[in-house]
Structure formats: structure tokens, C-alpha cells
């Protein structure tokens, strides 16, 4: 698969078909991008499980930090990698072992060998993207910040149940 470009339908499918994200490299530092992404994705209804061996046992946003993917005792759909490109290979192998459905590498993170292994094992792969930005881009929320969503639609954006300033990819109950 070509990982230079993803169709909106592919990314939308991943973000609407899955609910549990293990975030590897999640930081308890409230000024870090991973903290921003975790907070946003939780607000969109995702269960986000932080993974960070150096912070294991502590909490981020009320969720317990695990030392590794293998240490998580529940089903994980998406493994979101907030680490460097080299580290992504070992994390991807672990993601395959725990039965994850998607390996997602953050902006600036790309490992084509890891992508190949994951796809051979039947996982979907996204590289060099942020799930928060993709969610905001596809839902229309990011357009409030003047960001080019590269998306045209003659349909209304979906409003979330939480209030008028929340847009969602899937209506509640869908």
C-alpha cells in the first residue's frame, strides 16, 4: 500500500470502526503533543490507554499507565506510536502479538519495514499522521482553525451530543 497518501475513507474507517487506542509514548506532561492528543481523543469517546515504561503505574487523565502493550489486560484496537521511527519496529511487532487491528504512527514517524510486517499480519497501517488532527480534519472541527481539510462536502457536519462546539465522525448510537 502507498503510505505517502491515504484516502479520507480509509482514515475515517479506522477512526469510526475502532474505540480502544493504546498510546505508546504518552506523556503526563500537559504541554506535550501526546497529552493534547490523548485528551482530545478521550473527549471524542475513545478509550485511550497510555503506555510508557518510565511512567508505569502513574496516571494520565485518570488512566493508568502501562509499561508495555503486553501488560495491558484488555483488547486494544489501535496502537498509536508517539516514539521515533526506529522504535516503531519493535512496537509494531508487539502490536501484532497482542492482536491489535491498526498500527498508527504519529507525524514524523515512519517505518516501512514495520508497515510491511503489520500489513502481512492483516493489520491496517497509518504513518506520519496524527489521529487527533485526522479526526478534527474529517469532522470539520479543524476547519474552525482555518486549516485546509482538503475535503469538500455538501452535507452538514455531524454535531456531537456534548454540545454545539463538538463535531463527530459518527452520530451517537450509530
Amino acid at each position: 500500500m502507498n503510505h505517502d497518501v491515504y484516502s479520507d475513507a480509509y482514515v475515517r474507517g479506522i477512526l469510526t470502526n475502532h474505540r480502544t487506542i493504546a498510546m505508546v509514548g504518552a506523556s503526563p506532561n500537559t504541554s506535550r503533543p501526546s497529552y493534547f492528543a490523548m485528551k482530545y481523543l478521550k473527549a471524542k469517546g475513545f478509550r485511550v490507554i497510555p503506555v510508557n515504561p518510565g511512567q508505569a503505574g502513574k496516571e494520565i487523565l485518570g488512566d493508568k499507565i502501562y509499561a508495555s502493550l503486553a501488560a495491558i489486560g484488555e483488547k486494544v484496537d489501535i496502537v498509536d506510536i508517539f516514539r521515533n521511527s526506529e522504535a516503531a519496529l519493535a512496537i509494531t511487532r508487539e502490536a501484532i502479538r497482542i492482536g491489535a487491528k491498526v498500527v498508527w504512527m504519529q507525524i514524523g514517524v515512519r517505518n516501512d519495514e514495520a508497515a510491511r510486517l503489520a500489513e502481512e499480519a492483516g493489520l491496517q497501517v497509518v504513518m506520519n499522521r496524527c489521529p487527533k488532527i485526522e479526526y478534527g480534519r474529517l469532522s470539520g472541527e479543524l476547519s474552525w482553525a482555518g486549516v485546509n481539510s482538503r475535503r469538500l462536502s455538501s452535507k452538514r457536519s455531524l454535531l456531537g451530543a456534548k454540545g454545539v462546539q463538538h463535531r463527530v465522525l459518527k452520530a451517537a448510537g450509530d
Partner: protein
């Protein structure tokens, strides 16, 4: 998996950034004429102020009408994000406020809109920023003007008022060597004629007042972040690369990636300096943009007809329009904007300063005023108006000598535009 189909320019001009209003179904973009927006709850308010989520707080920073305009302009330019401002000058101020610290320098083409020369030379001095001017027709002159303090290069794609087509790629190469962003003012060309990002621009600024709005009814400006510059590499742009004391230590380039500049210009410079565009102006400009491709082509076709006619007039000394085959910028016009050379150009009167004054007094269809890019044809004598604050040398170098008349050709019948010039020249 195939990539999504890329819509054409005409389609983007109408649809980019605009969806039916989710609350009412309104198909045209509503004018959200409100100062403020209620928070969904306390948590939501805190997340908005921390930049942890996207949404609207206050119209000085974001507004849904403005947001459609911003995304529209960004999409037409092919950038990652846009930011609208109260005017083109405000847009420039916001960009430089984000990029520069006191003591910093930038290099700008000396062939610029006279107002930009004033802003850069005098007002920016009060911020401790120094402009060094170079020749937009000579990329090497930009290299020669670089110093260790240079933080950016600024040019106009089609220079006002001289009708010069800038070799953007050549100057972009100088910017790349120096590892500084290239800022291109694309006001006179609009993205219909030139897309600077395709030639190496990192930031694009616009006066939306001109051809984008196109109807001479609203002042506005815009910044487009091309998403091409690595703000973290050199560490010379601390607003983007260092933890922000204004937002609990977040680093903009890390948190917002390839649209960090647009966000920083908004949530720091626009928030603190305050030159927001009004929702009503944003709406009028958006409406104008929907017909940009049609209008811009007519502007260019009319301009070529008028310029060609002027070359044959006995009282006209010269015509500087890049669309004329014998013009020295004709090759650059063919390379950068083959659809047209714009609709603003200058010509020289054999009668000098006095003839210039007489001509602007004798026209009946042309309006004598200090704007460009209107549906109406406009005329001005720069030496006695827009460029009169400059020194004689600056005026000459900006292409605004005593005998120079600037035209902005409108959308009327070309025959009527020519007939007005004919009668006015006869009476001059």
C-alpha cells in the same frame, strides 16, 4: 487504495471550507455576527483556552465565517492553513510579529506596493526590525543583502505598480540556501494566476481587498501557511520552536506540525495585537472568491486589450505590461502565469507629472482612487498619491516616476474602457 480525487480550482473557489450550516442547514455561509461563543461546559472552556481542542471563543481569534474564508484561501493556494486579518497590512504585521524578534532583519524586494515599503521602512523600525531592500528582478541581490540576522525574504509575485513578474523560484533558492522562509505577497496575481507554493514559497500573504474580494467593498487580508518550512531545525524562530510562556510551555512547531505558523499567528499575534477581520467583510470577500476564476480571466483579457491599444497612442511613451510580447517580463509571464499577466500595470505619459495629473482628472469611466482589483476600472498617478511619501529615488526604484500612471483594469466592456482613455488622453 487510491488517493482522493483532487478538485479543480473553480470547484475549490466555490466549495472549499464551506459546508451547510450544521444548526440550520443554511447553504450560503452564514454571517456569524457575534463577538463571542458560549462554551459547552467548564471543561470545554478550559480545553479551548489551552488550545487542547478546536473551537470558537471570541471573534478576535476565530469566527466560523472567517474560518470558511481562511480555509478557502488556503485551499486555493494549496497551503496547510489560512488566517484572515483586518487588512493585507495586518496580515503582514502578524507574520513578521511571529517570525521576528527585536534586532532581526529581513530582505524585501524594493518593487513593492508603496504602503508595504512604508510599513517595512518606518513602522517596523519601532519594533526593532530592519528591512534591507533588494531588486526583485535579480535573485543575486537578495543573496547580497543577507546577514546573520536575516530571518525572512519577502517579494510580490506580480509587483505593484511596475507590472514585474517575479522569478519566485530563483529567489526561493536563495531563501533555501539561507534557511529562511520565503514570503510571497500574491495579491496582484491571486492563486488563479500564480500559486507561489509550487515555486518554493513558504508563506503567502494577501490583501483580500483586491482581486480575491474583487468588488471594492471590503478591506481584508490573509496569511497562508504553506507547511513547507522546518521551524525546529535552526532554532532561530523561538515563537515556533521554543516552549511558549503564553500557553503553559507548549511548543507550537511540535504541537501543530505543518500548520504551526498559521496557528501561532492566530493565537499569539492576532490574539494580542488584535487586527481581526469582521464577519461581514469575510462574508463579502467569500462571495467574491466564488467567481474569482471568471473575473480574473476577464480582468486579464481586458488588461491585455487596453495595454495593446495604449502602445499605439501618440501621447504614451511606454507601456509596462508583461502580457505584451515585447515586454521584458513576457517570458516570466509565460512561465509563471500563462493565463494572464494580471490587470494592474503602468504606462508612461510623454507629458510627465502634469500630464499624469490631467489624465486622472479627465477620465469619466475610470475612477481616480487608491485601490486595485475592483470590478470597476481604476486609475491613479502614483507620484502624486500612493508613492508620494517615498523619496524620489525610492519612487523611481519602485517604478513610480513622475510620468507613470497606474491602471487597474475592471470588468467593463474593453471597448468602453479604451474609449474613456481615448477621450481623456485627447483632452490631456
Amino acid at each position: 487504495m487510491t488517493a482522493d480525487r483532487k478538485p479543480g480550482f473553480n470547484t475549490l473557489a466555490i466549495h472549499a471550507g464551506a459546508q451547510p450550516d450544521p444548526a440550520t442547514g443554511a447553504r450560503a455561509t452564514p454571517i456569524y455576527q457575534t463577538t463571542s461563543f458560549v462554551f459547552d461546559d467548564v471543561e470545554h472552556a478550559a480545553a479551548l483556552f489551552n488550545l487542547e481542542t478546536f473551537g470558537n471563543i471570541y471573534t478576535r481569534i476565530t469566527n466560523p465565517t472567517q474560518a470558511v474564508l481562511e480555509e478557502r484561501v488556503a485551499a486555493l493556494e494549496g497551503g496547510t492553513a489560512g488566517l484572515a486579518a483586518a487588512s493585507g497590512h495586518a496580515a503582514q504585521m502578524l507574520v513578521f510579529h511571529t517570525l521576528l524578534e527585536p534586532g532581526d532583519e529581513f530582505v524585501a524586494a524594493r518593487q513593492l506596493y508603496g504602503g508595504s515599503i512604508n510599513q517595512f521602512t518606518h513602522s517596523f523600525k519601532k519594533c526593532g526590525w530592519t528591512v534591507r531592500f533588494a531588486d526583485t528582478t535579480d535573485a543575486d541581490s537578495f543573496r547580497a543583502a543577507l546577514t546573520p540576522k536575516t530571518k525572512a525574504i519577502f517579494v510580490e509575485s506580480i509587483a505593484n505598480p511596475g507590472g514585474i513578474i517575479t522569478d519566485i523560484a530563483a529567489i526561493a533558492a536563495v531563501a533555501k540556501e539561507a534557511d529562511v522562509p520565503l514570503i510571497v505577497d500574491n495579491t496582484l496575481a491571486t492563486p488563479y494566476l500564480v500559486r507561489p507554493i509550487e515555486h518554493g514559497a513558504d508563506i503567502i500573504v494577501h490583501s483580500l481587498t483586491k482581486f480575491l474580494g474583487g468588488h471594492g467593498n471590503s478591506i481584508g487580508g490573509a496569511i497562508v501557511d504553506c507547511g513547507t518550512f522546518d521551524w525546529l531545525k535552526s532554532g532561530r524562530y523561538p515563537t515556533l520552536s521554543a516552549p511558549s510562556a503564553s500557553y503553559h510551555g507548549i511548543t507550537f512547531a511540535e504541537t501543530f506540525g505543518n500548520f504551526a505558523l498559521a496557528i501561532a499567528c492566530r493565537v499569539l499575534s492576532l490574539r494580542d495585537l488584535g487586527p481581526a477581520i469582521s464577519p461581514f467583510n469575510a462574508f463579502l470577500i467569500l462571495t467574491g472568491i466564488e467567481t474569482l476564476p471568471l473575473r480574473m480571466q476577464r480582468h486579464c483579457d481586458n488588461a491585455l486589450a487596453v495595454a495593446t491599444w495604449l502602445t499605439r497612442h501618440s501621447k504614451v511613451a511606454w507601456v509596462n505590461y508583461a502580457g505584451l510580447p515585447d515586454n521584458k517580463y513576457y517570458a516570466l509571464h509565460q512561465r509563471y502565469c500563462p493565463q494572464g499577466a494580471g490587470a494592474v500595470f503602468t504606462f508612461g505619459l510623454k507629458g510627465g507629472y502634469e500630464a499624469g495629473i490631467a489624465l486622472v482628472s479627465n477620465v469619466k469611466l475610470f475612477s481616480h482612487l487608491a485601490n486595485i482589483g475592483d470590478t470597476r476600472s481604476l486609475i491613479i498617478h502614483p507620484a502624486s498619491t500612493t508613492h508620494r511619501q517615498l523619496t524620489d529615488e525610492q519612487r523611481m526604484r519602485a517604478g513610480a516616476g513622475d510620468e507613470v500612471v497606474r491602471l487597474s483594469i475592471g470588468l467593463e466592456n474593453a471597448d468602453d474602457i479604451i474609449a474613456d482613455l481615448d477621450q481623456a488622453l485627447a483632452a490631456t
